[in-house]
Structures are given as structure tokens and as C-alpha cells.
Point group: none
Chain length 226, copies 2
DNA sequence: GTCTTCAATGACCAGAATGCGCATGTCGCA
DNA sequence: TGCGACATGCGCATTCTGGTCATTGAAGAC
């Protein structure tokens, strides 16, 4: 996860950054509110750790401005020594997603950050991918090299089957039953659809991913992998 | 919000339900794990409050099964008297989104549930949004580019469903049940309403947000995002 | 109680997209 | 050179979608 830590206490910030970096996250740090707000708006973090006591802008105000002006939905975890109910309510009211009281365990911080990062529509678990080609099963939008592709319904199903199998080879019979069920068309219409799929995902690009294996079937490979 | 409370302590459950109901939420209750799991799978809650000490299935196991088998992404807030780091970590590891220690304040519970349900109480209570298109759920006023839109009741419900799902694709059958319940009209009246919705939210503007995915359904996208 | 208005529905038509079958072209191989 | 397997392009039939409109039914106004 890419995480922004807005915290002016250098020791604490260093602790958090060291621990989370070691756990494989990418960290960024701001020691005052203005810088933090700026970083949060410009970059696209997966989560923000926000101390409430800050020089510059107050933490609550920063949170509100981030939600209101910048219309950002990045999850925010507030960090503070204040543990009265009113403090917490104010935190959530300003748009925070979680609220952690000092002193806290770094383990718990990471667990809560993960929970924040995992939820929400941003991260779609339902995505098939092979190399620079991807198919989002929520939106059913296919992309290659971040270019959106328009596919016919059949080509879309074909792509889905091939992506799920990738880089395995899929037999023609398998593809046919996947698309038409038990009653595939008389002729080998599959070729036409493979052709259409190729036109969409391979032709506009430099490298071809959809390969033919004569007499056997087709497979979708990632040219950059092995 | 529609909230499921899985809690066998009757006093505590009654307290939570009474309080949250009074605050305008719709509550449901299960006193054992099996019933809870069943309700969670069948209905579509905005959040689940889950006690860890339950007859039937253990809370952690229930959480895992919900995530794994049912593939549910409903936010889960765990409720327990156990407050060691290991307990918390186990909770988050099983798929929880938040973890609250007894005794707790009902105010904090509601704040945390709001944060879970909508990532910011502001959004759920007030408005749905996608790009420059928004729907205020208090006034039921839809706007695009700050221009107020007049919609027919059905188009309004259609917009609500699509906005909540955005940018996910919504299948035709899904839209039909969302609007008409189990007995959708004979003909494909949905098209006419989609047409009406398009006329209102897309036609007067330069860019179209409501996209058709042939054979599958419709989706509402933010043209400026990714 | 009647009239008016508006939305929902279902039928219809037209245009476009898609699927499928076929003819032809291409490649590799014996 | 001949054969098998596949790619490609084309045309027709079908399907899908968008748009329009008349009818129906409900809610509100008078």
C-alpha cells in the first residue's frame, strides 16, 4: 500500500515509517498540515495516517478540506492522544474512517490500515489480468496498456475464458462449450470470434498475446513474462 | 443504513437496536452464528455488528466464512471484550473492518458504522455521486454540473441503483428486481426508463455517463476518472 | 364526483451491431 | 506440388438496442 503519514513528531513518524516500510508498504511523510494536504491531493495514496495535533492546519480541518474541496475518498486513519467520545465523534464527523488512540501498537496500526485499504470500490478484487491486458469483472471493462477496449459480447466472454486460463492453453471444444453451451454452431464460427478478439486486443498494439496452437486451441500469454 | 447485529446477549442487542433504530437505521438481529450467517448471506446489509462470543459458530470463523464462501464484502465491525493485540490481529486477519472493545459508547459505535458504511457519514446521509452527477438523498434532487434535473420516479430509482453501483456494471435483471421486486413487467419496460434517464442526465450534456454493455446491462461511469 | 395531468407500460419500427456461414487466401510441411 | 489447418474478408440473417407513441392507470386539482 502507498501510505501518507502526516505527523510532526519526528520520532513517532520515523517509527511508523520504518515499521511499515519493512512490511513492504510505500511510505511518504509530511510534518505539517499544509504539506500534508498538498501531498494528499497531488498523489494518490491508498490510505492516510493523520495526527490531529499539527502545525499549520489542524487535523480535523485538514480532513474536512480533503473530503470537501478535493473530493478525495482516500481512507483516513486519525491518530491522537485524545480519547474522549466527543473527540472521536468529531474525528468521524470530519470524515475520518478510523480513529486510533496513542499509545498504540504498530501491529494494530497496520491491521487497521489494511482493513481500510481493502474496502471500498477502489480496489476491485474481481479483476483478471495477463501482462498489460486486464478485464475488470465489476465494470466489465477490458483494457490494454491502460487503453479501454470495446468488445462485442462474444469476444468479451471469449476473453474472460482465455484470461482465466492464461497462460494455459484452451482447447477449441472447451471455448465452444464455454460460449455456446452444449449446442455450438454448425460451422467453426469460433474462428471469426477469435479474429474479432485479435482485432481488438492485439492489432492496435505492438505485441500479440493471443496465440494459436494448431489442432489444439488458443492461449493468452504475457510476452514479458518468462 | 441496514445493519445486522449478531449478538447473543439480549440486553446488549436490545440496547444497540433501540439506539440505532431511533437514529433512523434499519436493524436486524441474530442471536447465534448460524442464523447470523444465513441472514448475512440472504439479505444485503450495509454493515454487520458481530460479537465474537457466540453459540453455534465462533465469530472469527463466521467472519472468515462470510468472506470466503459467500464472497461478501459487507463491512464487519467486531465487538468483544478481548482487547489484547493478538485478539485484534486475529479479528482483522479474519476479514473484519473494525474492532470495538466492550464496554463502548453507542455514539462511537454509530460513528464507526457510518464510517464503514459510507466512508464518511456525509455521503450516505446526504448524497450519491459519480463525476459531476450527484443525487441528494435528503431532497432527492439530482444534479449534473450543478444543473438541477427533473426525473420521473422510476428514473430516479434507476439512477439511485446505478449511482450506488457506479462504476460497476449492473445487469438488467438486477435493475429490474431493484425497481419492481420479484415481478417485473412483461415487456422490456426497462429500456424506456433507461431512455428517459438518458434523456435527463446525458442528452443535455457533452459527455455521456450511462453506458450500455450489450447483453449484460448498464453502467454509470465518471468520464474523467481513469 | 369529474376533470386534468403525468407517469408507466407495452407495442412497434428503424437502425446498427453482431453472429454465422462460406469463399478465398496464407502458411507450413511432407 | 498437394494437403491440412488456419486466417481473413464478405454478405446475409438475426438479434439487440434506441426511439416514438398510444393506452392505461393513478394521483391530484377543482
Amino acid at each position: 500500500m502507498r501510505i501518507l503519514v502526516i505527523e510532526d513528531n519526528e520520532d513517532l513518524a520515523a517509527n511508523i515509517i520504518e515499521y511499515l516500510s519493512a512490511r513492504g508498504h510505500v511510505l511518504d511523510n509530511a510534518t505539517d498540515g499544509v504539506t500534508g494536504l498538498h501531498l494528499a491531493v497531488v498523489h494518490n495514496f491508498d490510505a492516510i495516517v493523520l495526527d490531529l495535533m499539527l502545525p499549520g492546519i489542524d487535523g480535523l480541518a485538514l480532513c474536512e478540506r480533503l473530503r470537501a474541496e478535493a473530493d478525495s475518498q482516500t481512507p483516513i486513519l486519525m491518530l491522537t492522544a485524545r480519547d474522549t467520545i466527543d473527540d472521536k465523534l468529531a474525528g468521524f464527523a470530519s470524515g475520518a474512517d478510523d480513529y486510533l488512540i496513542k499509545p498504540f501498537s504498530l501491529l494494530e496500526l497496520e491491521a487497521r490500515l489494511s482493513a481500510l485499504g481493502n474496502r471500498g470500490p477502489r480496489r476491485s478484487v474481481h479483476q483478471l489480468k495477463a501482462g498489460d491486458l486486464s478485464l475488470d469483472l465489476d465494470t466489465w471493462q477490458a483494457e490494454r496498456q491502460n487503453v479501454k477496449l470495446t468488445l462485442t459480447p462474444t469476444a468479451l466472454r471469449l476473453l474472460e475464458v482465455l484470461l482465466r486460463a492464461s497462460p494455459r492453453l484452451v482447447r477449441r471444444a472447451e471455448l465452444e462449450t464455454a460460449i455456446w453451451g452444449d449446442h455450438p454452431p454448425d460451422s467453426e464460427a469460433l474462428r471469426t470470434h477469435i479474429h474479432a478478439l485479435r482485432a481488438a486486443i492485439d492489432k492496435p498494439f505492438a505485441t500479440a498475446m493471443l496465440q494459436t496452437v494448431p489442432t489444439m486451441g488458443y492461449r493468452l500469454i504475457d510476452p514479458d513474462a518468462g
